[in-house]
Symmetry: C2
Subunit: 365 residues, 2 copies
C-alpha cells in the first residue's frame, strides 16, 4: 500500500496553509510527500497545466497574455531540530508562527500556492515552480535540474523568488567566490628552525591585506551592494616540533553583481599577488533587474523601497538565463536555519496582498 | 616457555655490536627483549652491580674513586619503516651502517656497553644507564622514572648522554616552550560579514610579529645558543560561509638555557601582548656545564671543539638534578628518525676511542 498523501486545504488562509506545509517534514532529499501533496492540491484546477520533474512541481497558466512571470519557491528545509510541528506564539507584540521552514521558506510557498489556486484570470501568464533540494549542494538543486530538463519552462519576462526578505523586495544578489591562498616553505626540525622556511610566517602579508581591506559598496541598477573579502578558514602545521611547509587560507569574496566571477578572481589574484591563489567555488551574482517596466509595475503594486540582497539565492539562476529576478517573501533571513526560526504572520499576509494586487492589476480583476 | 633472550656478544667490535643491537627491534614500549639481552650480557662481570627498573638496566662500578660519572643511552627507537635488519653500505666514500636505530642511538649504546664490560679499572666510578621510552611522551621516559624510583643512582659529578652529535661534544640544550596564541571574533554569515568580527583577520599582528622576529643568539658558559620562535600550527574557521570567531596559532619557542621556562613564557606574553597566550608544554633547557674541571678533562681527552646542542635531550634531566651533562655520540642528528638513517662507522670507532681514552686516564690503565 503506497504511503498516504497528506492533504493540503488551499481554501484556508495563507497563514494556516504555511502551518500545514511546515508540518509536512521535507528536509532536503525527502520532499516526495510534500511534492505529492502540492501536486494533488492543484489537480482539477482547469486554469493550470501541471508538470512534475522529480520532486519539483510546475503549474502554468496559458492565457495568451503579453507577458509571463515565473514565481518560484523551494519546498525543502534544513534539518529539523525539535521545531516541528510548528506553533503560534506572540513575541514582542507580533503574532508569530514558530518552527522549521516558517521563514525558509514555506511562508512564501503558502502564499504562492494559495494564489496559484485562486488567480484564474491574472494580468500576466504565470509559471509557478515549487522545487526540491535548494538547501544542499548546488548540483542537486531542483531548479537547476528543471532548467536542464525543461529549459522551455524558463521563458519569462520577470521572476520572483519567495525567499525571506522581510516582506520587502530584495533585488539581485551578490556573487560568491572561494579561493585557497597558500604559502609554501621548507620543513625542518623546530630546534633548528633556520634550516627551514616557515610557511605560516610567510602567509603574514595575506592576513595583513585582509585585515586592512576596505570592501567596496557598489551601486548596480540603483541598489547599493556591499561586498566582503574574508578569511573563512586557515590551516597549517605538521607537528609541534616541525617548521611547517604549507599554510592555506580559504578566502570568500562576496562580490557585487556588476562584477563577473572571472573579474572577482582577478581581483583576488591581484590582492594576493605573489601567493598561490586557487579557485575552489564560484557562483555568479545577479543584477537586480529593477529597471524593466514589468519590475517597476511590480514595485509600484507591492510598495516599499527595494533593497539589495546580500546572500546568494536562486535569483542568480534566472539572471543567468536572462530573466530579471527579485526576492520577495515573508520572514527575516537572519532567522533562516535558526532553531528559533519564526515568521511574523503579518509578513505572510503582506506578501499575499502585494502579489495579489500586482497579479490582478489596478482594476483588481 | 618464556621467549628466548637474544644473545649479545660484547667481544666483537663496537660497530658489530651496533648491528646486533639494531637488529633486536625495540620500538618504544617494546624494549623488554633488548633490556633482557643487555642485562644477560653483563651478568657475571664482577666489577658491575646490576639494577633493573622496568626495561631500564643500570650497571655501576664501586671502586671508591673520587668522582663518579653517569653515562647513559636510550634503547628504544621510533617505529621501524622497512629499515631493519641493518646493512653495511658505503656512501660518499664513507663506510656506513644503515637502518633504524643506527644513529638514534644504538651506536652510542654499543660503545657504552662494550666499555662497560671491558673497563674493569676506570679512573672514575661509572654508573652506566640504558633506558626505555625516550622517543615518546615525557611522562613515560625511563630515565625520568628511574630518577623518581632511584634518585640515589643519580649522584654523580658529570654525565654523558650518547645521543648523536657527529662524534663531537654538544653541551647542554635549548629549552622548549609551546603556547597557543588565540584571537577571538564574532560569527556571522559571510554574506553579511560586517555583522561579525573576523578572528583570522584579528590574528594578523601575531603573524606579522613572528615574521619579523629576530631570534637571539645567547652565549652560555662559552657556547652560543641560537633561539627560535616559530608558528608550528594554525587553525581557524567554521564553514565556508561563516565569519570565524576563533583562530589559534601554536607557537614553539626554543630558548637558550640561560632562560627559565617561566622567563620564556613571559617573553612570549610580552611579544603577543593583547592576545590570549596559553602554555601547553614546557621543558627547561640545560646549561652546558663545560666549566667544571672534570668536563675540561673529558674535553681534552676526546678532543675537538664543543658545540651547543639545539634540540632538547635528556641532558636537561641531569642538569635539573645538578649534574652537568653533555651529548657525545656517533651519527648525524639530522638523520635521526629518517628512513635513510645511517651512521658512519668511523663515528662509532671515534666515540669508543674518545671515551676509552678519558676513562682509562692519561697513563692508559
Amino acid at each position: 500500500m503506497p504511503a498516504e498523501v497528506p492533504v493540503l486545504d488551499l481554501s484556508v488562509s495563507s497563514v494556516e496553509l504555511t502551518q500545514q506545509l511546515c508540518d509536512i517534514a521535507s528536509v532536503s532529499g525527502d520532499e516526495a510527500r510534500i511534492a505529492d501533496a502540492i501536486e494533488a492540491s492543484l489537480e482539477g484546477l482547469g486554469h493550470l497545466t501541471i508538470v512534475r520533474d522529480g520532486d519539483t512541481v510546475v503549474a502554468s497558466t496559458s492565457l495568451g497574455r503579453a507577458q509571463r512571470v515565473i514565481i518560484a519557491g523551494h519546498i525543502d528545509t534544513v534539518p529539523i531540530n525539535g521545531n516541528v510541528p510548528t506553533r503560534f506564539e506572540e513575541r514582542d507584540g507580533q503574532a508569530m508562527l514558530w518552527g522549521r521552514g516558517t521563514v525558509d521558506m514555506k511562508g512564501g510557498v503558502a502564499v504562492q500556492l494559495k494564489l496559484a489556486a485562486e488567480l484564474t484570470d491574472p494580468i500576466v501568464d504565470i509559471t509557478w515552480m515549487w522545487y526540491d533540494n535548494e538547501e544542499v549542494a548546488s548540483d542537486l538543486n531542483g531548479l537547476g535540474r528543471l532548467a536542464r530538463n525543461r529549459p522551455d519552462l524558463f521563458v519569462g519576462d520577470f521572476a520572483i523568488l519567495g525567499e525571506p526578505s522581510n516582506a520587502g523586495v530584495e533585488g539581485g544578489c551578490n556573487g560568491t567566490l572561494r579561493v585557497h591562498v597558500s604559502a609554501h616553505g621548507k620543513r625542518s626540525h623546530a630546534a633548528r628552525s633556520w634550516v627551514g622556511v616557515n610557511a605560516i610566517h610567510a602567509i603574514s602579508p595575506v592576513l595583513a591585506t585582509l585585515a586592512s581591506y576596505t570592501p567596496r559598496e557598489v551601486e548596480v541598477d540603483g541598489l547599493v551592494y556591499r561586498e566582503g573579502v574574508n578569511a573563512v578558514g586557515i590551516t597549517g602545521g605538521v607537528a609541534g616540533n616541525v617548521i611547517p611547509d604549507l599554510v592555506t587560507v580559504e578566502v570568500n569574496y562576496r562580490f557585487a553583481p556588476s562584477r563577473t566571477g572571472a573579474e572577482a578572481l582577478a581581483h583576488l589574484e591581484e590582492l594576493f599577488s605573489g601567493f598561490e591563489v586557487v579557485q575552489t567555488d564560484v557562483a555568479e551574482g545577479a543584477r537586480p533587474g529593477l529597471d524593466a517596466p514589468i519590475a517597476q509595475d511590480f514595485l509600484a503594486a507591492v510598495g516599499g523601497t527595494p533593497a539589495p540582497k546580500y546572500g546568494w539565492t536562486d535569483v542568480a539562476r534566472f539572471s543567468a538565463l536572462g530573466v530579471p529576478a527579485v526576492n520577495y517573501g515573508p520572514g527575516d533571513p537572519l532567522l533562516a536555519h535558526a532553531d528559533d526560526e519564526r515568521v511574523p504572520l503579518a509578513h505572510i499576509e503582506d506578501c499575499e496582498r502585494g502579489l495579489r494586487a500586482w497579479l490582478t492589476g489596478p482594476d483588481g480583476r
